[in-house]
Symmetry: C2
Subunit: 348 residues, 2 copies
């Protein structure tokens, strides 16, 4: 099914672009040899780079974009003046049907604003959400929203649950993912009104979704459920809290190991183990925040990523496009609209 | 100043109570020899235990409580029927002025409900907050609220900032603690209306508070500011996310070290380093959630804590009582009420 997949790539987004984008395509090609790319950016520069990369050139079409979006540009400003940027033109290629999805390592806020403006939300989805993958003790956990929507009502959370579940099925290949809503306790009576109402909607309606009720912050790392649903404020804080805790832990570990001569020798002996740990929590494995709920797939790669991370972001976009994420979302939304079955009344 | 400090202790709260409470007093006594305790619980049992512990008995007065609060009791139920419990009677001793503060390792929700009901909030404080200490790369960070208030408005956040700052001065001994509001970005325009309004209040008023603006989830572990202010929903999720991430990291580390024969040898060599790491992140060092803003100090020790953890919770209560936390809060609140200085107009 990846035969017909075309992705638009913002060749100029990210700290190490465009070299990292081109090297990322080369890596992705080993996994998806038939995917084709619309490479949007500075044409003369890209042409020159591709001249020596026949392997990459043969799966790419270059489209010239005279501008690019800087990392610190304000989304509102990009919306006003960014139409000739590589980011905008790449997203626009999706809107025009020339590509099924877009990958950019550029400015997150601008990419979200442009994607919303150009692609619009899928009918039935009020607001797009940002989803990401997190390492857990049981494997990987999907969490959304990670910052697209600072204030969310119950309906938004229900839509996130539907999108997250389909995303998990496609990207992690889990047949029947379990879903939980992030809260301050697992009892039904806890939390604010948005999570409580979303809880009762997800409990009551007759979708296929395996809803497990409320989960707590520690369930992200424990991997208690496959999909964790939350508002963009809490999700963004949780995402960055995980990053900060991991960094602190690494620093403590490093300091503990360099504290004495003996501990340094211990470190040398333990190096393969440490390397294994590092690989397991490698942020490049979890690279890519997905904007779900738009008419087309947008994958945001980390701005500081390298070619391997960018290739993973491409892989995620290929999975979502080739397995028609949006068609599956629409199916699930249709279930939501079905009326409740009337309770069976026993004959007297 | 600890000469006159009396603490009420819920002798029956916590998994290992009352033994852990008595052993905790013995440890605390080495640091605070003059502090006295009102030990509230099952008198016959406590008397028997103290018979062989003269060192502890000499700083304790036992008060009989016929009941205790179970770990899974609902706060509302405890409010209705818990007046004869060790928890309630310990809190009540503070309300009656017999003790300056109370420490309990019992049911958190019940302790918060009873403390609010019996002690009431300090004039000028709308809602009490739960504060805690977190390890960071720079030392320790205070964060509040950790779950007392699921929905917070801007004024609540401002009050939390004031209480957190005074708490940090007293407990961590930092003369001029820096304060930040937890948000989804550090730019002034980001976030929901509560954090934005709180930001402008804290920026504009003329208190001594060293307000640093917005911080993000990763700033908790980085230790960017001394005090992090947030609503109880986000704070509770962040607290538990840190716990979950630390657990996952420890598990990954253990698995990495037990993966092969060589890595096991590496682990043996690195054991002192690992032990150092463990000590640094020892949850017992950070034991105790403080309920701030009530007429009296309530410290909640972790339910599963041991004597060392309980002694740390006692230490925190002693610091807050002996340095008159509530008097300092009132001083700061008075600043908040002062009118803004009119802008100086240059003479023409």
């Amino acid at each position: 099914m990846t035969d017909e997949v075309v992705l638009a790539l913002d060749a100029m987004g990210g700290d190490a672009a465009p070299q990292m984008v081109i090297d990322g395509i080369a890596i992705a090609k080993t996994r998806f040899p038939k995917v084709r790319y619309l490479l949007v950016g500075d044409e003369p520069r890209l042409k020159e780079m591709l001249a020596s990369r026949q392997d990459v050139a043969e799966v790419c079409t270059i489209r010239h974009a005279p501008d690019s979006v800087s990392a610190d540009a304000k989304p509102s400003q990009v919306l006003r003046t960014g139409r000739k940027s590589s980011m905008w033109m790449a997203v626009d290629a999706v809107a025009k049907g020339e590509a099924g999805g877009v990958v950019s390592a550029g400015n997150t806020g601008a990419l979200m604003a442009v994607s919303k403006f150009v692609l619009r939300t899928v009918p039935g989805i009020d607001r797009p959400a940002i989803a990401g993958l997190f390492p857990s003790q049981r494997g990987e956990t999907v969490m959304l929203d990670l910052g697209g929507n600072v204030d969310c009502n119950a309906n938004n959370l229900v839509e996130f649950a539907i999108m997250g579940e389909v995303f998990c099925r496609i990207v992690l290949g889990i047949e029947r993912p379990s879903v939980g809503i992030l809260n301050v306790g697992s009892e039904d009576a806890k939390g604010n009104s948005a999570v409580k109402t979303a809880h009762s909607i997800l409990k009551s309606h007759h979708m296929q979704l395996s809803f497990q009720g409320f989960v707590e912050g520690n369930d992200i790392g424990a991997g208690t459920v496959d999909v964790i649903v939350t508002d963009g404020f809490t999700g963004n804080v949780a995402l960055k809290t995980i990053e900060g805790t991991a960094k602190m832990f690494s620093r403590f570990l490093k300091e503990a190991f360099t504290h004495s001569f003996l501990s340094k020798i211990g470190y040398l002996m333990a190096r393969p183990a440490m390397h294994r740990l590092k690989l397991r929590a490698d942020p490049r494995r979890y690279n890519g925040a997905m904007f779900l709920g738009l008419n087309g797939i947008t994958v945001k790669s980390h701005g500081g990523t390298d070619a391997l991370g960018f290739a993973n972001a491409i892989g995620c976009a290929v999975d979502l496009v080739s397995q028609d994420f949006n068609a599956k979302i629409k199916e699930e939304l249709a279930h939501l609209a079905e009326p409740e079955q009337p309770a069976q009344v026993a004959s007297l």
